[in-house]
């Protein structure tokens, strides 16, 4: 168990390309930290540098107070779970899980005891003498976990450990990983591209893009107070809605309708001398069916329902805002990463609102929606910064 400190950690490949730029991160003892971002954002490279599988070009990495930049993986006392599980195909489950202990010259009785113990925790006792090729995906994943936990390492590093499982199993394993980590209290760094995994597992989440850390915070902080357009668009499902707006001292003129500024927004926007043209971000739950709203205050907009999706607990209402889709470098990258760019959903900007299941919304009919401006964000289209974030 240990704390992991990254100071100005940078990875530059021989061809000059920067994979990771100046990452500063303090991971406390026992903390569960998630590195998340679209593919190619440098999250796996960062993990590999912590593991010692890739050299650190610049900066220092400390594990437990000791600088480990030049130490081989075996001297760092960390365990890693790979996306492919990387089980040794020629060894039985028992041998796989005992492998790190055998290398550490632990006596045979202790190896057996620890492997049995881990197998019990992971529900693998009956599979101990099988080869990995005779196991299902979920069982293989558990063996990989077992190999990591048998040796009580200083830290667990996990590189997309669940992405090869089917959706249902993934949710189950997610809770199991969370439970094991809490029980052992081992510092864990977990890489994923799935924001749901990041939000549900992490004590803190690090959002990365193009080798740069965008924001570090608890899941709630990232969700409620994204520092920029990228984090805002990446975190949350369905993701945040963006519309173009022009700003006057009191009002945001959006294609949905005029939204009067509340005190908080006016203060923040004035302080930062916001530009005239901005992007407004509204989470799906910032909308409310006006006919069901408890308080009657706040601005309202009237829209025509395009598609209605009833999920029982909630209803998702899709409608369009005139003025074409919002396009910035950050949002385009997110669209490409999520495959949205391939759906051909061009034309008007699509907006989704999450309403109470009791809504009277009908497809093709107009509906009045109340907008909760305390959950709205205003972004600078040029650099993507959140102009309503208190610390920006």
């Amino acid at each position: 168990m240990a704390e992991i400190v990254l100071e100005g950690v940078t990875k530059r490949y021989p061809d000059g390309s920067l994979a990771v730029r100046d990452v500063n991160l303090d991971i406390a003892d026992g903390e569960f930290v998630i590195l998340v971002g679209p593919s190619g954002c440098g999250k796996s490279t960062t993990l590999n540098m912590i593991a010692g599988l890739e050299d650190i070009t610049e900066g220092t990495l400390r594990i437990d107070g000791q600088v480990v930049n030049d130490l081989a993986p075996k001297e760092r006392d960390i365990a890693m779970v790979f996306q492919s599980y990387a089980l040794y195909p020629h060894m039985s489950v028992r041998e796989n899980m005992g492998f790190p202990l055998r290398l550490a010259k632990v006596d045979k009785a202790t190896v057996d005891r620890k492997v049995e113990e881990a197998a019990r925790v992971l529900d693998l006792v009956e599979f101990l003498d099988r080869k990995p090729s005779n196991l299902s995906g979920g069982q293989r994943q558990r063996v990989a976990m077992g190999r990591a936990i048998v040796r009580d390492p200083k830290a667990f590093l996990m590189d997309e450990p669940l992405s090869n499982l089917d959706a249902k199993l993934r949710v189950q394993m997610r809770t199991q990983i969370s439970r094991i980590q809490r029980r052992l209290g081992t510092t864990t760094v977990y890489v994923t591209h799935d924001q749901t995994e990041a939000m549900t597992l992490g004590d803190r989440v690090v959002v990365m893009r193009q080798g740069l850390v965008q924001q570090v915070g608890t899941p709630a902080e990232l969700y409620d107070m994204p520092r920029n357009l990228f984090v805002a668009g990446f975190i949350g499902s369905p993701s945040m809605n963006f519309v173009q707006a022009s700003l006057t001292p009191d009002t945001l003129h959006t294609p949905l309708g005029d939204l009067p500024l509340d005190d908080r927004m006016r203060r923040e926007l004035e302080r930062r001398d916001a530009p005239r043209e901005v992007i407004v971000g509204l989470r799906p739950e910032a909308f409310e069916d006006a006919s069901l709203a408890r308080d009657t205050g706040g601005p309202a907009v009237t829209v025509t329902v395009d598609v209605l999706e009833s999920l029982g607990s909630d209803a998702y209402v899709y409608f369009t805002a005139e003025g074409g889709p919002v396009s910035t470098a950050e949002l385009d990258e997110l669209a490409t990463d999520s495959g949205l760019a391939d759906t051909g959903a061009g034309g008007d900007q699509q907006i989704v609102a999450r309403l109470d299941a009791a809504t009277h919304a009908r497809e093709g009919q107009p509906i009045e929606l109340r907008v909760d401006l305390s959950k709205a964000h205003v972004f600078d289209p040029k650099n993507g910064a959140n102009l309503t974030h208190p610390e920006n």
Partner: protein, 277 residues
């Protein structure tokens, strides 16, 4: 349906029998010759009229053949061992590491395999004579090793490429040194490839005639294929046909045993990489 299936099977059966007969006929011929007595050697029959072990007894009575057999076994085994060990390490580097001059190295090894051995025999003869390894075991082991290394590197690097890189990373994180990772994880997984390569290299060394005849002059390093060429009849007027046939059969046996034992591994080895398993 059944009738169609049966006629289909029959047709294939006939084709198979024809191919097998075509392939095995020369083998049977030499086996038949080796069991014939000198008097019936030229009777033109494909089945010996009176079976005799005379030819086999004859070749094992002279040191000419037994000594050559020892040379063959020794030289082929040592050359195979060295080629496989070096080839394994070289192939691992080729498959796994990025280093300057890698393409040149691969090109060079292809180049070696490209030259027809006959064009190199005269220079080799002169080199070996001047450095004093002509007509010795090393004099044959070194060229065999050189010419089989490209084959070994190519076959083995295909195997190494099949092994997921993550396994090595996992081994390193699990606390293995690079040498331990290679020995405990990579080599066991590449074992089928190593076997295949070893057998192919062994067959190459075992069957070689050109180097064996050119780079030896006495019994001290002459291998069986070369020694057979020096067989003489028991008298000046007798053809050594029977002895040659017997010797040919004897040196075929180890290869047959090898191939039968490792048949499945060889097939798996030669086809690996073709289909993702």
């Amino acid at each position: 349906m059944a009738a169609v299936g049966r006629s289909h099977a029959t047709r294939w059966g006939v084709v198979n029998v024809v191919v097998v007969l075509y392939a095995l006929f020369p083998v049977w011929w030499i086996v038949a010759l080796s069991f014939k007595a000198p008097s019936t050697l030229t009777d033109g029959s494909y089945i010996p009229t009176d079976w005799t072990w005379e030819n086999y007894r004859g070749i094992f009575q002279t040191s000419e053949f037994t000594r050559a057999l020892i040379n063959s076994i020794g030289i082929a085994l040592i050359a195979t061992l060295i080629a496989v060990v070096l080839g394994t390490m070289a192939a691992y580097a080729v498959a796994r590491l990025r280093f300057p001059g890698k393409q040149v190295l691969i090109g060079m090894s292809l180049l070696i395999a490209m030259f027809p051995p006959i064009s190199l025999v005269s220079p080799l003869f002169n080199i070996e004579r001047s450095i004093g390894i002509f007509d010795t075991w090393p004099g044959l082991i070194i060229p065999y090793m050189t010419f089989s290394l490209p084959l070994a590197i190519y076959t083995l690097s295909a195997f190494f490429r099949e092994i997921p890189w993550d396994l090595e990373k996992a081994a390193k994180v699990d606390g293995a040194t690079p040498a331990q990772a290679f020995r405990m994880v990579i080599v066991p997984l590449a074992a089928p490839g190593v076997f295949t390569t070893a057998i192919l290299v062994f067959i190459f060394c075992w069957n070689d005639f050109l180097f064996a005849i050119s780079l030896t002059s006495t019994e001290s390093a002459r291998t069986v294929p070369a020694a057979i060429a020096f067989f003489t009849g028991s008298s000046q007027f007798q053809q050594p046909t029977g002895s040659i046939a017997a010797a040919a059969v004897v040196i075929t046996i180890p290869i047959i045993i090898f191939v039968l034992l490792f048949q499945r591994r060889i097939v798996a080895g030669l086809t690996s990489g073709a289909v993702k398993g």
